[in-house]
Every structure is written in C-alpha cells, then in structure tokens.
C-alpha cells in the first residue's frame, strides 16, 4: 500500500470529511468528568468509562441544567478534529441517564431555580376562566393529544386550539418544546392559555420536562401556562414553573374549560333567580304602595286626633272663664238694673238690686 503523506492541515480536513461521512452524529454515554464553563459561554467536559475518556465542547445554551462531575450522561454531538485543539465532540444535547442521575440533575436544577424564585407561588397567574384560544404543545399523534382534545370537545365548544406538534421525549425534545413556546410568544394576538402535555413514562422519557431551557421558557411565558405530565411520582420542574399543573392530559382539559352541562344547569338557575328578582321587584312596588296608603291614613287620623285634642283644651279653658262655674262655688252676681255692681259705691240705700245665684235670681233692697 502506498504511503500517504499529508500536511497537518490536509490530514485534519480529510479526517473530518471521513468522520462526517461515517459518523456525522454520535451519541456517547458515560460518566461526566472535568466539567467546566469558560466565560459563562463555552462548556468543556469529558465523558469517561473505565477504559477511555472523550473530550466534549459546546455552548451553555445546549446544557439541560447545572451538571456535576460523576453524573451519568448521554451526549449527542458531532465528532471533530480541531486544527489546533485536537479531537473533541461538539455536543448538541445532553441528557442525564438512569433514574439516579436524572434525579440528581433535577435536584441540582431545582435548587438553583428555587433560589431564583422561579417556582414561587406569588409568580403564579390565574388561568382565564374560559379561553377563546388555547395553544397546545404536545406530540400531535400521541394519546395525550387525543385525550386532551376529546375531553375538551366533550366539555366545551367554540375554542380555537392551535396545536404545536413537538417531540416530547428524546434528545431533541427540549429544543422542540422551547421552540414551540417561543413561537407562541411571537404570535399576535397571544393565545389565552398554553397547555403543555404528554402522557406518563419512565424518568428518562420525562427528562425533557426537567431541562433548564424548558423550565425557564415555561416560567418566562407571557401567556399563562398549564403543564400536565401524566405521571404519579415526582413532579417535573416544568410543572413547578407553570402557573398551574394537571395530573394528566384529561385533567388538563378539565381544568382549562368548564363543563357545558354544568353551565346549562347554572343558566336554568339564573332564569329562576331572575324570575324571583322580578317578583321581588313587583313585591317591592306593592309594598311601597301599601306603605303609602297606610301613611296617608295615619296622617289623616293623626290630624283628626290633633284637632280633637285642641278642641278639648279650648273647651277646658272656656269652662275656667264661665261665670256660672263661680256661681256654683257660692259666688253671686249683683245687678242694679242692667249694670253689674262691682263696688259698694254704686249702691245707695233703698236701691232695688237683683242677685243671681247658681240656681236662680232674687230681688233685694239695699239698706
């Protein structure tokens, strides 16, 4: 075989071409070591097993969350020989592998985001009572999507559902979910509520919902969010960051719209209540009329009473001045002719006088 002699630059070019043809993208699983972040932007680490260690390089934007040496990871990337820095794999996505690592990574991220206040109850916004437009982020052909739409249709009508079909598991899922969330941030007008849902699965299936990029995008959404991941055990961080969580896609539909049957029953009740209001209105008017009549009658009686009292008082006063009352007490009226005798000086001896007593008159002669 003829010996090939390359210049270093040519060798790098040929090597990369060969790699690109044979292994354009590789997934490598192992233990994370030498993890470091440079200038808050570039990420370097190795993934190793007992026999080998491979260098990785990439940007912080591709990280699923805070990582620590010792975690078991699956990393997808493009192998490449750099002209100066040697061989490395430029990673595109990282996912913790195995329940222990997934839980550990989620715990790191949870602590970090909790410290930032991302899950604080005061950040939660209420969902609209009845949305007109719902943004639905899920896998379009999944049972979760079918369940959500089935229950939505059963419960309510007149809603426009804008469906963003995304991968909800696998290495590409976080970027897809973030892409869909970004899309709903751009549309005008915004939808009334965003529902992000998938059915249950293993910890590994659900790992996208513990990815920092997804969790931050959910927390940062301008539209209120409802995240429903069908699983029983740990709540994902995306659910914690959402304004509301639901246990399953069906539960999400139950939360997001009311049941039309309940509303129809309520409407019937409203009809009865309004009828009562109307009857009350009529009743109030009747009561007012009756009240008015009673008032007028009482006013008339009161005036009559007053007049009666006033007459009685006058009568008593007149009685006091009645001279006959004095006669009854033993006094007498003395008259000389037609004049009342008020003084002895009016009388001379021999005058004929009339004396009026209470029960009659007598004539006397003055001596």
């Amino acid at each position: 075989m003829k010996e090939l002699i390359f210049s270093p630059a040519d060798f790098v070019a040929v090597f990369n071409q060969t790699l690109e043809l044979a292994y354009p993208v590789v997934a490598i699983q192992g233990e994370l070591t030498n993890f470091r972040v440079s200038r808050n932007r570039w990420v370097y680490f190795n993934v190793k097993d007992e026999l080998a260690s491979i260098k990785f390089f990439g940007s912080v934007y591709q990280l699923p969350g805070p990582l620590q040496d010792g975690l078991k990871l699956r990393v997808v990337g493009t192998p490449r020989l750099h002209p100066q820095f040697g061989f490395s794999i430029t990673f595109q996505s990282i996912q913790p592998v195995g329940e222990g690592a997934i839980k550990k990574a989620a715990d790191f991220l949870r602590a970090k985001l909790e410290a930032e206040g991302l899950f604080a109850p005061e950040r939660k916004r209420p969902l609209p009572e009845i949305p007109r437009r719902i943004g639905l982020i899920t896998a379009a052909n999944s049972a979760a999507c079918a369940d959500f739409i089935k229950i939505l249709n059963e419960r309510w009508g007149g809603v426009e559902v804008i469906l963003a079909d995304v991968l909800v598991q696998g290495m590409e899922a976080p970027a897809a979910i973030v892409g869909a969330l970004d899309h709903f941030e751009q549309i005008s007008p915004l939808v009334d509520v965003l529902v992000i849902t998938r059915g249950g699965g293993s910890a590994e299936d659900l790992v996208a919902f513990n990815d920092e990029r997804v969790v931050r995008a959910v927390a940062g959404s301008r539209t209120p969010t409802l995240v429903a991941i069908g699983h029983e055990l740990d709540i994902s961080l995306a659910e914690l960051a959402a304004d509301q969580r639901a246990s399953t896609p069906t539960n999400a539909a139950q939360i997001v719209v009311p049941d039309r049957r309940h509303i129809i029953i309520q409407l019937d009740n409203v009809g009865s209540i309004l009828q009562k209001f109307l009857m009350d209105t009529i009743g109030t008017i009747q009561t007012d009329l009756t009240g008015g009549r009673k008032y007028l009658t009482s006013q008339v009686f009161s005036s009559l009473d007053q007049a009666k009292h006033s007459m009685e008082a006058s009568r008593k006063l007149i009685n006091v001045f009645d001279p006959r009352a004095a006669l009854k007490r033993g006094y007498a009226i003395v008259k000389k002719g037609r004049d009342h005798v008020k003084s002895v000086r009016q009388v001379v001896k021999g005058d004929n006088l009339g004396v009026e007593l209470s029960d009659g008159k007598i004539k006397v002669v003055a001596e």
């Binding site: 009845i130 559902v161 892409g179």
Partner: protein
C-alpha cells in the same frame, strides 16, 4: 338585512351578568324590570343553544419545531 355578527359565549355571558347586576341593585322600575327579564330569558336561550352547538377548531401549526442551530467554535 345585514346578518348579525356571530356572538360568543363570553360576550353573551357578560350581558347576562349586567342584567343580573341591574336586578341586584336598588333600582325598582317595573317597566324596565320586565324588559330586562325578557332580555335575560332570550340571552339564556341563546347561550344554551350556543353551548349545545358550538364546536372547537383545531389548527395545527406547520412549523417544525427544533432547537437553535449549533453554534460553531470560533
């Protein structure tokens, strides 16, 4: 005659709520009360009809969602 704009649940329900509020206030005017009551009954019938017939529309976005393209090392 121009066709009436299609009414949605929220608009009709808001009108019904206004009428209920009117009845709950202290205004007592029999003529107006009867008129409002009739309006409310018509609205209730309309809302019930809407709830029984309205259908949801599902619109799938054609965009394929994926992550941002990988930044190249400089």
């Amino acid at each position: 005659m121009a066709k009436e704009t299609k009414r949605d649940y929220q608009t009709m329900n808001a009108k019904l709520a206004e009428i209920i509020e009117w009845f709950e206030s202290d205004k007592v005017n029999l003529g107006e009360a009867v008129e409002k009551y009739e309006q409310a009954l018509a609205l209730i019938a309309e809302i019930e009809k809407y709830l029984k017939t309205a259908e949801n529309k599902i619109k799938k976005i054609t965009t394929r969602f994926q992550g941002p393209s990988l930044e190249k090392e400089e």
